[in-house]
Amino acid sequence: MVNISQSKENSYGFKAVIPFLTILFLIIIMVLPYKIPLISDIMPFLTLIGVYYWSVFKPELLPIGVVFILGLLQDVLLGSPLGLMPLLLIVVQQFIYMQGRQFLERDFLFNWFVFVMIVSGFGFLSWGIASIYFKTLLDYWSILGQIFLTIAFYPIITGLLGITRKLVDR
């Protein structure tokens, strides 16, 4: 069993880095200087969509160590406390594995519905951790905005990730 999955992983060749690159690309998209009022407060959690998508559809290409590195990179580029994003993203990935990702591999609307719950948990967890970190109660309205915007962006980003997934499978 182990050997089969191992050989499957090897057969991807350099395409195995596609999930990593797509999530890295989403991180960069998140830190561009948009200079649009409000956008800087309600930037959707694009990397969460990426990690969710690849953890459901191609978990063998997104090992936990890679999620950890991506989270760290996001913390460095955003200027957030080191360790915040790896922690949140790994918790999400483990949650998906615990629920059984085969269960999620089914249909889009169901996936979106589960994602709504995940993003809500993710948003408020990030708010909670940041509040503890700064030892002050941070404003939660913008987190609500981020959560809604992430839910709205989910179909677009997963659509684009679907195209790259076909590249991986080809």
Partner: protein, 289 residues
């Protein structure tokens, strides 16, 4: 067995993240250096990904400029004439000011503009307000330099690599700037709270603030030179909290200047000593801000 291994690695990485969160708080030199090295590597990638956005933004700006070129021209002509008049008046005042300062033996600190830089990335987060600029130690930027633009104070550098630096913006929750009320000269602290408005801390209870009061840097702390515009009092809440609207439009920042401020030595009060040290010479090229 494999399942157990996966659980174990998951727990290991979760603990590693928690450890980073807890021990990274102290911002040791090593962590700071590694952060700087990493964002330095990614800046070219950010700039490339940003090309379509800058191109479209540039194009729409160009169209907008063309559309208003005539009305702008007329406005600028009038403004130019007005500014010329003001220039004459201010030059006179400057000479006067310098003469009086020399009489009083007041020494200004020196302000050096290190470099002008472009903003390449923004946190875009409700909790963390910082940005990356494309100048670093190679351009002479150091940690703790003030970052300003023509409108006023933007923030200060907190993490510098070879060709880039992270700037903590004045509205970040960790930002504290020594400021004063321009009219009364009361020294207070301007604290960011992640929102669009900043608040005043340590306001003496017997002092009063009014909406519209101008806030300038006080020059204390040695990072920001004195008398840079910071903002205006926009609101005083029922609880007496003083809210400041920043002078800089933080949503429209493209370029900023990094400046270095060196505090002058304390004025010599004893005239004879001063003469002995030859410090009565008028100082040229002092503060530009």
């Amino acid at each position: 067995m494999k399942r157990f291994g996966q659980r174990f690695t998951a727990i290991f990485f979760i603990l590693a993240s928690l450890a980073l969160l807890i021990f990274g708080r102290s911002q040791t030199n090593l962590i700071e250096q590694s952060r700087a090295q990493i964002f330095e590597v990614f800046i070219p990638a950010i700039v490339i990904v940003d090309i379509p956005r800058t191109a479209t933004a540039g194009f729409s700006q160009w169209i907008r400029r063309i559309a208003v070129v005539f009305s702008d021209n007329e406005f600028l002509r009038e403004e130019n004439a007005d500014l010329k008049r003001q220039l004459i008046a201010s030059t006179e005042l400057e000479i006067d000011n310098l003469r009086l300062k020399n009489l009083l033996l007041i020494k200004d600190g020196t302000v050096t503009t290190i470099t002008a830089s472009r903003i390449v990335s923004d946190s875009n987060s409700p909790f963390f307000k910082s940005m990356l600029i494309n100048s670093g130690t190679n351009d002479g930027v150091k940690k703790g330099h003030a970052v300003v633009n023509e409108e006023g104070v933007v923030g200060r550098t907190i993490n510098v690599s070879g060709n880039s630096a992270r700037v903590l913006i004045i509205n970040d929750i960790n930002s504290r700037i020594p400021v004063k009320f321009s009219e009364t000269g009361v020294n207070v602290i301007l604290a960011g709270d992640n929102s669009g408005l900043q608040k005043i801390e340590f306001m003496p209870p017997d002092e009063k603030a009014n909406v519209g009061d101008q806030i300038l840097t006080s020059g204390m702390g040695g990072i920001f030179p004195p008398d840079l515009p910071v903002g205006n009092v926009s609101e005083i809440t029922e609880l007496g909290e003083i809210k400041i609207e920043p002078a800089v439009n933080l949503n429209r920042l493209n370029y900023v200047s990094v400046i270095e401020y060196e505090i002058a030595s304390f004025p010599v009060l004893n005239q004879a000593d001063a003469q002995a040290q030859g410090e009565l010479e008028p100082e040229e090229g002092g503060a530009q801000w």
